[in-house]
Amino acid sequence: MKQKIKKEKKNWEEKVLKKILEKRPERKKHFENYSKIKIERLYTPEDIEGLDYLKDLGFPGNFPFTRGVQPTMYRGRLWTMRQYAGMGDAEESNKRYKYLLKQGQTGLSVAFDLPTQIGYDSDHQLAIGEVGRVGVAIDSLQDMEVLFKGVPLDRVSTSMTINSPCAILLAMYIAVAEKQGINLSKLSGTTQNDSLKEYIARGTYIFPPLPSLRLTTDVNEYASKHLPKWNPISISGYHIREAGATAVQELAFTLANGLAYVEALKMRNLKPDDFAPRFSFFFAVHNNFFEEIAKFRAARRLWARLMKERFQVQNPKSMMLRFHAQTGGSTLTAQQPDNNIARVTLQALAAVLGGTQSLHTNSRDEALALPSEDSVQIALRTQQIIAYESGVSDTVDPLAGSYYLESLTDQMEKEALTYIKRIDDLGGMLAAIEKGFIQREIQNSAYIHQKKIEKKEEVVVGLNRFQSDPAFSAPQKNHEVRKGGVDSKIEERQKRRLLKLKEERDNKKVKKALNNIKKAIHPTPLQRGGVHNQKNLMPVILEAVGVYATVGEICDILRQEFGEYRESVSI
């Protein structure tokens, strides 16, 4: 049979193909995807000869999870449609959450403003102009209380995009839940808590990588013991991709970060099976349809294999890569913004065909500014159309068995593994980051990508081809853009609230709590491998937020003891 196909293929190439190619050459000499994987003209059974169905694909819900993490996938339950929200101050965001809940959105998500993300209070010198801009400003438990006022925390699942000071914000969330009288075992949601990727992509780091890894590990450890329904970490490739990485790099660096977190937890004398089931991932989804689907399938298979081989986990859940996906902000264009609806649709479809657990679809005008209400709605509707009208959710992993997709899945997995081994050789992710290896790889990819667009080797519709009349293609006006005036008001309000809080709270207790954090920090590891024997900082942080110590105050203590990180790579 195989021989026969081979023979026939040769036959076809010589008799049919050759003639056509002579008459009409193909559009390009060389076809490749963003990961620089060569794309063949035609895929046949030959290309998946090595594929062993049971070993490499198996059944959904079973190792190696290539076909999905649940046996019935979307036939049982659709993915969670989760739209990023949160801006302005706590009151405004609170209103928005209530509106979204009414709209039937199944999960909440909190974006924090940049000062909060890098551990400064709203009255800090560096916070000027930034308060409440890209998310909600949280200075103390008081703001968190306002944010979730009237939102029953046992009945929502909350996703918080917070990394370096994650322990503090999670502690505040827990404190709010306790005040609502909710048992911690009922809290469900996700914290991003992926501090390592901040050094290679997103840039909202505070401390050096090693103490950051400790804080991340503190949160992971705490959650594994007290928050059974919480996903303490969302290991994020999204920002790595948005920073310019290829799909393979996104896959490799994200999983490598994941391995680093597992190693760190192991040093706390925890068994991977005790925590790995609650790990979750977060990927970007871009335009190259099959590349993206293959990436998700390869991610599941590779993670399962790595966990099994490197850590001998027993629980299938420890091998399962569950992920959230978001359409690629950097793929959207400011030119002809409505085209972005088509891009987002394509990407969302790829995420669904790749078996995502939850999905955020970007709004068409995100390349311009914060999205308008209309655009947010179209983005959500896009998901609903895929879910309810396209039929792709009616069967599990519908594209499996495609010669092309399976061969691509295999290649992506192999190339990602090659990267992971290179990182191993460098001494692991922490060392690779310190050496700037990862950062340089990403920067190079970003530069090459940009050059290709400029040389029109890569087509971006509306940008470097098919531009319309300049009058129409100019970035359009956006009616929801926040002007300076609005923000200054938020900043002022936030500052006033902070000032008042500092007058009204019991400052003696605050001082004591802060001092307790300081004491609990040591010993600080000077070297890698020194993460064990350390106290988990969550209890002292919980104590501090409970007496209304602010994010800035707590981070100041940590900065004093840990030091601050300086960017380590030039270009």
Partner: protein
């Protein structure tokens, strides 16, 4: 007020402008340089060199803090290579030398090599004079001691610090002998990252017989990102400064 007068009063903009002129049209600045030479005492110049990424800039940042605590004005020239193909350059040393808020007493200037052999050290030498005129109590020059031109540049320095890091032990023998010969102080930075024994032994081997000059290059271990060992380095630099003074 003339450019020179402004520089002598510590004006940053004037200082920057004259350095630009030195880089762009060296011959047109001969007069100014002469005036400067007449009006100033030569400043102590510290050359910091070593392979890419060993932590030279980070070390300089720490030294700046140290000198500032003692209220000394610091000038820095950070030299990076120009691309031989395009003539362009990416000058990134400042990233590691940033202070939380700018300080009147610190002047940092990035210079590209611009592919000139003899010209680079002349430009550097003149730029040092400008910084001296600006009021620097010490001028620190950073280069990757790779090319010939850069080795030459180091010769304009009074005290030369060669920075290495653990793991470079085997590279020592292959390094430009020139650089090893002219080093007055050897720094092993990043000692938090590994064993230094191998490197130290190799340094001992190449540590040239400078006894007869009355100066034995010291080996100092530092962790620049944490600031440890900097005090010792500072003291060694000052010691070398005194040694040079006495020699004269």
């Amino acid at each position: 007020m003339s450019l020179i007068e402004k520089i002598l009063q510590g004006d940053h903009k004037a200082t920057a402008k004259l350095i630009s002129k030195i880089e762009d049209e060296p011959t047109s600045t001969l007069k100014e340089i002469k005036v400067l030479e007449e009006r100033i005492v030569p400043v102590h110049t510290l050359g910091i060199t070593g392979p890419p990424g060993v932590g030279k800039s980070t070390l300089i940042a720490r030294l700046i803090e140290h000198y500032r605590e003692k209220n000394k004005k610091v000038g820095v020239l950070a030299i990076d290579p120009s691309s031989p193909f395009t003539g362009g350059a990416l000058l990134g040393d400042r990233i590691r030398m940033q202070m939380p808020s700018p300080d009147e007493g610190v002047f940092i200037r990035s210079m590209a090599t611009r592919g000139q052999l003899g010209g680079l050290s002349r430009a550097t030498n003149n730029a040092i004079k400008v910084l001296s005129g600006w009021g620097a109590d010490i001028v620190i020059v950073e280069t990757v001691g790779a090319g010939q031109a850069e080795v030459e540049v180091m010769r304009v320095a009074d005290t030369i610090v060669l920075v290495l890091s653990p793991g470079l032990g085997d590279d020592i023998q292959m390094m430009k002998a020139g650089i090893l010969e002219i080093g007055d102080i050897f720094v092993i930075n990043k000692i938090d990252q590994g064993e230094t024994g191998h490197l130290e032994r190799n340094l001992e081997l190449v540590r040239p017989g400078r006894e007869k000059e009355g100066w034995v290059p010291a080996i100092i271990k530092t962790i620049a990102i944490k600031g440890s060992g900097i005090d010792e380095l500072y003291k060694k630099i000052e010691k070398h400064r005194k040694y040079l003074k006495n020699k004269k």
